[in-house]
């Protein structure tokens, strides 16, 4: 026996209690085939345990799985049409509360799931099934049936369900119908609808009462927002009508949740919109925005897919309703008319049409938001490119300025070298003049009487010294500089095939980053190559979709003797060799 903290006032009870729970699941014929396959429909033994657990380590010898699983015994099926089976949810026995739950499950290809139980005993009572216990039983059945269906569905179907019902998809609403031979203690329906305690008891199961009727033959129906109570002495005859009604209401429940989801997406889009205004302020907002947009786009795709499933299910349900309407018995027709099946289905169809419009609107909003974000992204990218270009220009200016400085220094070096050469020569030769033959300059015993020749010797020595000094300075500069950076700007169309060949044949790729815009697929490839025995790191920016090469930046380690143009020419030559440019 359960320990219920409340002193339940058990006023109302049912006799011969059956519960039918209708659920809608996005289904197609292929899903039906997959389920029958999962149930091993064609095998001799049709009794199996199933679990939604995913084996993520197929190579392992053993596996540890939750003890909660579902036992399924298949009764009847047609591969792509339907499947009827008995299910039992197996829990480890840890509670003193005894629960034996065998559920009849009927699944059809258009998403109609009918779960049925016939209550044998409830809190040790076998005759009187008190209404107060039924909500607790329904809570159990609802969660257990969700778990069972979850175990049977494909990953994609689970994804669709989780999209609409969120994290607590196991607690999702379904539509229950309480079927009984009698409701006691009163015989007339109005006694239960007193607006006070009795009615509150009824509301525990079906919430707000929409409609009710007591038929001439004694059948009683109370339709609530969250369920329906039907009492009848001959339930078998009206069962197909009840099933149609319950399924129509299950679709309504699904549509309600679908509708809520649309608003939740609209809300998320508003958040993205607000976030897009923060791009200039919060640098993280752009990435966050892009992530959210991707997520919403994926959700919208699934929502559109769901519309397709819903449409097919409604067509099938309406077709079925039209067909069976013509063969109803008078009693069935009377019940069907009161339950308003046709109108519920038509209302669901109209709602679906409205939802499709909403979804298209949502798609348009999404597209606008995407364009808005792309414009911002383009601007952002333009700013980045402008920044890069400006930096490159500043660098070039600095290079030129440095070069000019170097040239000035070189001129000074030449002048100084000349002075030094003359001074050195004077030091070796000593004092001399060409007026007196005794004072002619002599080097290593060789007298030079011709002033022109002496001048040429001076100049020659000057040139040799300048050459040696420049060589020494350059060598010292090369040794002092570890790396040299070269920035090559192309902005040219390329032949992608040849460019790929160039990348593959010449470079060792280190990393690749792609940034996708509406029309551009910017790829930044960081790679390494050997040029003249030097390690050169290249950063190549190109559009891999439209075939444009934007820039190549080179970082050359210990460039030593080779100058900038050597590396530029090397890269350009190799690109031309493979006919990369258009």
């Amino acid at each position: 026996m359960a320990i219920i903290k409340d002193n339940l006032i058990k006023d109302v009870w049912f006799k011969d209690l059956k519960i039918l729970v209708a659920d809608y699941i996005p289904f197609g014929r292929n899903s039906m085939i997959a389920i029958n396959k999962k149930l091993e429909a064609y095998k001799k033994v049709r009794d199996s345990l199933i679990s939604a657990f995913l084996d993520k380590d197929p190579g392992s010898s053993t596996i540890e799985i939750s003890p909660i699983k579902t036992r399924v015994v298949l009764l009847k099926f047609i591969s792509s049409e339907y499947s009827n089976f008995i299910s039992e949810l197996i829990y480890p026995e840890i509670s003193s509360v005894q629960q034996k739950e065998y559920v009849g499950v009927s699944m059809s290809h258009f998403g109609r799931i009918i779960l049925g139980i016939e209550v044998q005993s409830m809190e040790n009572e076998k005759e009187k099934f008190y209404l107060d216990y039924i909500p607790r039983l329904l809570t159990d059945i609802n969660e257990d049936s969700s778990r069972l269906i979850h175990d049977l569905l494909s990953i994609h179907q689970r994804m669709l369900i989780e999209l609409i019902f969120g994290k607590n998809y196991l607690l999702r609403q379904k539509y229950p119908v309480i079927i009984s031979q009698e409701i006691q203690p009163y015989n007339d329906l109005t006694s239960y609808l007193d607006g006070e305690r009795k009615e509150n008891e009824i509301k525990q199961i079906i919430e707000y009462i929409e409609n009710y009727k007591e038929f001439n033959n004694g059948d009683k129906i109370i339709i609530g927002t969250q369920g329906t109570i039907i009492t009848s002495k001959n339930i078998k005859e009206i069962e197909p009508v009840i099933v149609q009604f319950a399924f129509a209401r299950a679709i309504t429940v699904f549509l309600n949740n679908y509708f809520s989801k649309i608003f939740s997406i609209i809300d998320e889009m508003k958040q993205i919109n607000a976030m897009s205004e923060q791009f200039g302020i919060d640098p993280r907002s752009f990435t966050e925005c892009q992530d959210k947009m991707t997520d919403i786009a994926a959700q919208c795709t699934l929502m559109i897919e769901l519309c397709g499933y819903l449409k097919n299910s409604l067509i099938d349900a309406m077709y079925e309703s039209d067909q069976f309407k013509t063969i109803y018995t008078d009693r069935q027709a009377e019940i069907a008319q009161f339950l308003d099946i046709e109108n519920i289905l038509h209302s669901n169809s109209s709602r679906l049409t409205d939802i499709i419009n909403l979804i298209h609107g949502l798609e348009n909003d999404m597209s606008n938001l995407k364009s808005q974000i792309n414009v911002i992204q383009e601007k952002r990218l333009q700013q980045i490119f402008k920044g890069i270009k400006d930096t490159a220009q500043i660098q070039r200016r600095m290079f030129r300025s440095n070069e000019r400085q170097e040239n000035k220094i070189q001129i000074l070096q030449i002048i100084l070298s000349g002075s030094l050469a003359i001074e050195l020569l004077n030091l070796i030769v000593g004092d001399y003049n060409f007026r007196n033959s005794e004072n002619y300059p002599s080097i290593f015993g060789l007298q030079i009487s011709n002033p022109v020749l002496w001048f040429l010797i001076n100049i020659g020595l000057w040139i040799v010294l300048v050459y040696l000094v420049i060589k020494l300075m350059k060598s010292m500069t090369d040794k002092a500089v570890d790396t040299q950076n070269i920035f090559l700007n192309y902005d040219r169309p390329i032949k992608l095939d040849n460019f790929s060949k160039w990348l593959e044949s010449n470079l060792e790729i280190i990393s690749v980053e792609t940034e996708q815009l509406e029309n551009r697929y910017l790829k930044t490839t960081i790679a390494q190559m050997l040029i003249d025995g030097r390690d050169v790191e290249l950063s190549i920016v190109y559009d891999e979709k439209n075939g444009y090469l934007y820039t190549i930046s080179m970082e050359i380690s210990q460039p030593k003797t080779k100058d900038k143009s050597y590396y530029e020419n090397y890269i350009n030559r190799s690109l031309r060799q493979l006919d990369v440019f258009k």
Binding site: V103, I117, E118, Q173, E201, E239, S321
Partner: protein, 235 residues
Amino acid sequence: MAQNFELTDDHLKLLYLISKYTRTAKRSFEKDKWIKEFTLRALIYEGIVNNVFNYDYSPMSIEMIGGRRILNISQDAEDDIADLREMKMLDCLRLSSTNYRLTNLYKISQEGMKVEIPTQFKEQIDSLCKCPKCGSLLELEYDPTGKDDPIYIVCKTTDCLFKTISEISEIEDISYSTEPYFPATPILISEEHEESKKEIIEIKFHELIEAQKQLFRNYYHKKLQGIKKKSGKGE
């Protein structure tokens, strides 16, 4: 109408409970204070299990920001709240939360303030909603976006750290035994249908859907005629 109702003990207790948590602004710069429906439901549940209210409760699926949760809700209390609203003793404000979920807020009205509450009822409600440590009003603390996070009843006074878990979300199990039940469903697919399906195997794939529809029409037509003949309605 208001005069048709007679205030029960539970009505009075409920009115006093709501009055503890709400306030009507008397000047333009003051603010009204409302109690949220969820907080009220949790306090009522605590009142039921502590024998303050003479209500029943049962599990009910409630839509929250984080998804659905099953909570012990009292329909009797919901009905009494509706009674008090009809008697103009309670004001109700319908509010939309960030994700478009609608929620109700309640506040005692001027009419409700005039009602005399017996001291005995006041004491019972005070024992329910006042902190046992410091006597301040207890409040609810929970993460509305959480899936199965506990719902706490807390005292928010700075020095007092009173905190207890509300069992509103703990659904009591009952023992039961059930057998499978298969109601007669409208589609009764026969072997004949299964055989006729084989006929379309050779049909090209793009014609399959149309063929399926035709197949169903034929099947229903045959089925209809058979049933009509049996029931004497046939031609």
